[in-house]
């Protein structure tokens, strides 16, 4: 087994009096494309925020690249942050900066490269995520939702991270853009050797680009494995989840 990039061990957290995670453990190996699924309120986003160091769990250990996230000094944590990129659900682009500067910001802040070079590298990233060159000088508010997601992806890739976190990458996109975005993620993961950890509701994403799925339920990991393996698990939510996908030529409701 390859070295594990993310290790979550026995994590528990209570928010607002509710227990969100109860002894949750999982690990992700280098090079895997992992999806985290679970019902609404099962704590997927909280788990993501714990792993990237935004929310502190009340118990347990979280390691990234073998280093503990919550025992690191701020300097260590910063060097850790440069090794992963995050795509937030709504892109979280800085509205006061141009698209190009949005992508170049991590390079401005974390490297000592000249600004011109940073902007050129930003345009390289924008081209890699499939944006036309004239988008670089626009403001985020002038772009469509799908393009904003691509810009956010380019920003997440700016420092060439080894690990990429994606929070619902295809939500809010039409099916065509969504599939194109999935294909892009897989392509980049393969060509750049990325490990990808994505939180999703999108069944089509699961069926198209994912190596392994981790299911959260009731504050723990219910199961993990390929889709075929998950279908063996006898769980009400999971059965309904997979049943929610109408097969070809058939609609669930209506005629």
């Amino acid at each position: 087994m390859a070295e594990s990039v993310i290790e979550v061990h026995d994590v528990s957290i209570k928010l607002g009096g509710y227990s969100i995670h109860r002894g949750l453990s999982l690990s992700v190996a280098r090079g895997e494309v992992i999806a985290l699924i679970g019902g609404s309120g099962s704590g997927k986003s909280v788990l993501l925020r714990e792993i990237i160091g935004l929310v502190k769990p009340q118990g347990g250990r979280i390691k990234l690249f073998g280093k503990s996230v919550w025992d690191s000094t701020p300097a260590q944590m910063n060097s850790l942050r440069r090794r992963f990129g995050v795509l937030f659900q709504d892109g979280a682009l800085f509205s006061s900066l141009s698209v190009e500067d949005n992508v170049a910001t991590p390079l401005f802040e974390h490297t000592e490269l000249p600004r011109v070079t940073c902007r050129q590298l930003a345009r390289l990233k924008l081209a890699m995520v499939g944006l036309p060159p004239d988008a670089a000088r626009k403001r985020p508010s002038e772009l469509s939702g799908g393009m904003r997601k691509r810009v956010a992806l380019a920003r997440a890739l700016a420092l060439d991270p080894e690990l990429l976190f994606l929070d619902e990458p295809t939500s809010g996109l039409d099916p065509i853009s969504g599939r194109a975005f999935d294909a892009l993620i897989r392509l980049l993961a393969d060509s750049l050797g990325l490990t990808v950890f994505l939180v999703t509701h999108d069944l089509d994403t699961l069926f198209s680009i994912i190596d392994r799925v981790i299911v959260l339920s009731d504050g723990r990991v219910l199961g993990s494995g390929t889709l075929a393996e998950l279908k063996q698990i006898d769980d009400l939510w999971l059965r309904e989840y997979f049943a929610a996908r109408p097969t070809e030529g058939e609609t669930l409701y209506g005629n």
Partner: protein, 365 residues
């Protein structure tokens, strides 16, 4: 982390690179790469290469996108794949010249157009608001009384402490300065006259208007602007309601009601502040102060100040609401428009106040 290394072999025209090629490990090497004609890229010694490193390597070998691609020699296969991936996109990353900076004349022209745009926009807004008011007169059931109450609470009740505090202190300062001059001529009692005139006619209306512009005007723009960003305004429109009737008119009326009251409170606070000082500094007892107050104060002095207030209120409310509604859908424009509201309101207050001053003198009021 071992740094990137590179040296140039003049004989072969080969750039021989080794080490870790990441965005930040590469910086010491950069100056060495400039200005060479590279025919061969040798990557045998490279241990790590990411897209940033690959782009920088290519940029070193090929300063312009049109230059011929060098020959890649003894790269590891996955490094070669990375180089080729990056090379595909290298055409778009050529440095483009920045648009030239604008001169003073251009900036002045642009500024004038912006000011003109605001004037036209405000007039247009007043027209739309007037039509909406006519509509509301016809259907009195559509008045938003509850919203009006909430706005009066926010605009008036919340502002009382700050208005009282500010005007009290201004009264103290004014009476103190006036007193120290009047004392030299033994004209102590006339401090009351001066204080009254200054606070009631000028200081209280203007300062209250400035406070309200900063406090309420900015809040209105930020609130309506954020509603615009989160599409709440669009939701109001699609529900068949008018944003003007739901949001703007209650705010305008609330300000219209609150401002004269605030000015009156400001008058009282300023006089109390002056009274506290004259007692200590000029030995004018509260009794004497009140006697003199009753003698010299006429209704006109009070009304002149209080009558300015609704005019200021209208300007502040209209400017704030219009700027709120003209926010575009990003966070930056909320900030810009809020700033613009405060600036426009202050300018309007000062201009209107000057017009009033001239008018009152001409009319002998």
């Amino acid at each position: 982390m071992t740094a990137a290394r590179a040296h140039f072999d003049e004989a072969q025209g080969a750039l021989i690179a080794s080490g870790v090629w990441h965005a930040d490990s590469i910086i010491p090497v950069l100056p060495k790469l400039a200005g060479k004609v590279v025919r061969i890229l040798d990557g045998a010694g490279i241990t790590e290469l990411d897209t940033n490193g690959a782009w920088l390597l290519l940029a070193a070998a090929r300063p312009q996108a049109g230059d011929p691609m060098p020959e890649f020699r003894s790269f590891q296969p996955h490094h070669l794949a990375m180089l080729e991936l990056v090379a595909q996109y290298s055409a778009v990353t050529d440095a483009k010249p920045k648009p030239p900076r604008e001169g003073v004349l251009e900036l002045a022209g642009r500024g004038t157009l912006v000011i003109w745009g605001h004037v036209i926009g405000l007039v247009n807004f007043i027209g739309r608001l007037f039509l909406e008011l006519v509509d509301l007169m016809a259907f009195p059931g559509r008045w938003r009384w509850r919203e009006l109450g909430a706005q009066v609470n926010a605009v008036f009740v919340g502002a009382i402490p700050i208005v009282f505090g500010m005007l009290f202190l201004l009264g103290v300062v004014f009476a103190y300065l006036l007193g120290s001059q009047a004392q030299q001529y033994g004209a102590n009692i006339f401090v009351v006259d001066g204080l009254l005139l200054a606070i009631m006619r000028e200081v209280s209306p203007v300062i209250v208007a400035v406070l309200v512009a900063g406090r309420t005007g900015a809040a209105i723009t930020a609130q309506i602007g954020t509603m615009k960003v989160t599409e709440e305004i669009d939701a109001i429109t699609t529900l068949g309601l008018s944003p003007l009737a739901v949001l703007v008119i209650p705010r305008v009326i609330a300000l219209l009601l609150a401002m004269p009251l605030l000015v009156f409170i400001g008058d009282i606070a300023g006089i109390l502040g002056g009274m506290a000082v004259t007692k200590e500094q000029l030995d004018i007892s509260s009794h004497m102060f009140m006697d003199r107050l009753v003698d010299v104060m006429d209704l006109k002095t009070l009304l002149v100040g209080v009558c300015k207030a609704p005019v200021f209120a209208i300007f502040i409310a209209l400017i704030a609401c219009r700027m709120g509604l003209s926010v575009t859908r990003d966070a930056r424009s909320v900030g810009n428009n809020t700033t613009s509201t405060v600036v426009q309101s202050l300018v309007a207050i000062i201009i209107v106040n000057a017009i009033f001053a001239v008018m009152f003198v001409r009319l002998d009021i």
